[in-house]
């Protein structure tokens, strides 16, 4: 699937055996986005010409030349991936520390918000610390992990208490929608001024 990183778009994928990997979202052959590709076994293939890549980023196969062993020089840039607590974390370069532990909460959904972190803070009436915003709505606690994408968009990962039942989780998802509407309304209000 497509995702964003501080160094540009990435293709995030999971192999058949369950290992996650993050590639630069561009096939070095003709520049096609690899997030449109397909996974067979432990390899990701580009949808355009079927060039396939191992998790380490090296090219395994060029279907137009089945007899050719692709040279080592054909490779996709990769990022370090940590699969922890139901969240996929990537680090650009060497990670300084492992991803933060998120005890007692579990991921519910990810949403794109057409607003910056400040607008989300204003809508939630709380300050984010280290990209984490705690929001209480109708007595329910939501923990929001915020990943800004440029000036005006924020990818918001919504986490809820591990013990939340389905009814509570649905309510939490709706509360997150309400928060997004409020933040986008604040952002639009600012844009008009």
């Amino acid at each position: 699937m497509p995702a964003q990183s501080p160094v540009g778009p990435i293709a995030l994928w999971r192999s058949r055996s369950g290992r996650a990997a993050a590639f630069a979202d561009r096939c070095p052959h003709r520049g096609m986005r690899l997030s449109h590709g397909f996974v067979r076994g432990e390899a990701l293939s580009c949808i355009y010409h079927g060039w396939s890549y191992a998790q380490a980023g090296n090219c395994l196969r060029i279907p137009a030349h089945p007899g050719l062993a692709p040279p080592e020089t054909i490779r996709v840039a990769t990022h370090t991936v940590e699969d922890s607590g139901g969240l996929i974390w990537i680090s650009v370069g060497q990670a300084a520390a492992p991803p933060p532990r998120l005890d007692g909460v579990t991921p519910l959904r990810s949403m794109m918000v057409e607003a910056d972190v400040a607008a989300l803070e204003a809508a939630a009436g709380a300050q984010a610390e280290g990209g984490v915003l705690d929001h209480t709505h109708d007595g329910r606690a939501l923990r929001l992990l915020l990943a800004p994408e440029g000036e005006a968009r924020t990818l918001m990962h919504v986490l809820v208490g591990e013990d939340a039942n389905p009814t509570e989780r649905i309510a939490a998802s709706r509360a997150a929608e309400t928060l997004r509407r409020a933040a986008e309304s604040i952002r639009r209000g600012r844009a008009v001024q």
Binding site: P9, D25, R26, P28, H29, R30, G31, M32, R33, H36, I47, Y48, H49, G50, I62, P63, A64, H65, P66, L68, I74
Partner: protein, 281 residues
């Protein structure tokens, strides 16, 4: 921007069959233009400031140029052969460089993945060696002896066959494909891609065909070609960078890509850079 050599080329700007007095507003290399049927019954093309642009009507389309073409529109002798059916496929807009659209048309290695079970299918993915040349007399790029396995080569083809193709690039945004003609061995079907550059990253594509096929209903022929092109469209809108890189380093060609390599070299040599990126970024 310096004057681009592509200014003086011919471009398709509408279907001749849909020409009317009311006119069609469109864009050619950033300039708003209007294409209509004049009082004298001839096609007229007017530029942004009201100036009359060069015009000719050929191969089902109205052609024009924002500059001063040094030569007549390229010839397709086969188009005048008796017995061919001429197919107006209609326009499809694509948010991509006009040069990327042509380059994709010259490519066969994507058939098994993008036109699966129609123009290609795994495991028949191998591209055998073929011949590529820049013909100096005509100043055109040609690829010949291109062979590829096709599960359904055309509307009139049943079952898989090895199809032979020839590709020809007579103008920076136009390509002609000659393809084995199942009902008439020894002749070639003609399938063209005429691209109207609206901007460097936006184009209107006008496929057109001249086929030996008396059986297939016209609508089926149109739908077959529209299917193929719209399958390509989602690829073309997702290539990075959007502009075609003419300098090596940005992309990795293989033997299967020799037509593309020659096309890029020919574009660069002529300064045909509208829709291209020169320095690898």
């Amino acid at each position: 921007m310096s004057r681009n050599a592509m200014i003086d080329e011919w471009y398709p700007v509408g279907l001749a069959s849909q020409l009317d007095a009311q006119g069609r507003k469109t864009t050619l290399m950033g300039e708003p233009i209007e294409v209509r049927l004049g009082d004298d019954g001839n096609a007229m093309v007017t530029g942004g400031n009201g100036r009359a642009l060069p015009v000719c009507v050929r191969y089902g389309h109205v052609w024009s140029s924002p500059g001063e073409p040094h030569r007549a529109l390229f010839a397709i002798p086969e188009a005048d052969q008796p017995g061919r059916r001429l197919v107006d496929v209609g326009v499809v807009r694509v948010r991509c460089s006009p040069l990327r659209a042509v380059e994709n048309f010259l490519d066969i290695a994507h058939f098994p993945f993008v036109h699966t079970d129609i123009l290609g299918a795994e495991p028949h993915t191998e591209v055998q060696n073929y011949k590529v040349e820049i013909r100096e007399d005509e100043d055109e790029v040609w690829a010949t002896q291109v062979k590829f396995y096709q599960p359904q080569a055309a509307r009139s083809a049943e079952g898989g066959i090895t199809t032979e193709y020839m590709y020809r690039v007579p103008a920076p945004t136009c390509s002609i494909l000659y393809k084995t003609c199942p009902p008439r061995p020894g002749e070639w079907d003609v399938i063209t891609l005429f691209v109207q550059p609206l901007a460097e990253d936006l184009c209107d594509v006008w496929p057109w065909m001249a086929l030996f096929d008396d059986e297939t209903p016209m609508t089926d022929l149109i739908h077959f070609q529209q299917t193929i092109f719209v399958q390509d469209r989602s690829i073309l809108e997702n290539q990075i960078p959007g502009l075609l890189p003419l300098d090596p380093g940005m992309e990795i060609p293989t033997r299967a890509d020799l037509t593309s390599v020659a096309y890029r070299r020919w574009l660069k040599r002529h300064g045909y850079t509208y829709g291209a990126q020169l320095v690898a970024q």
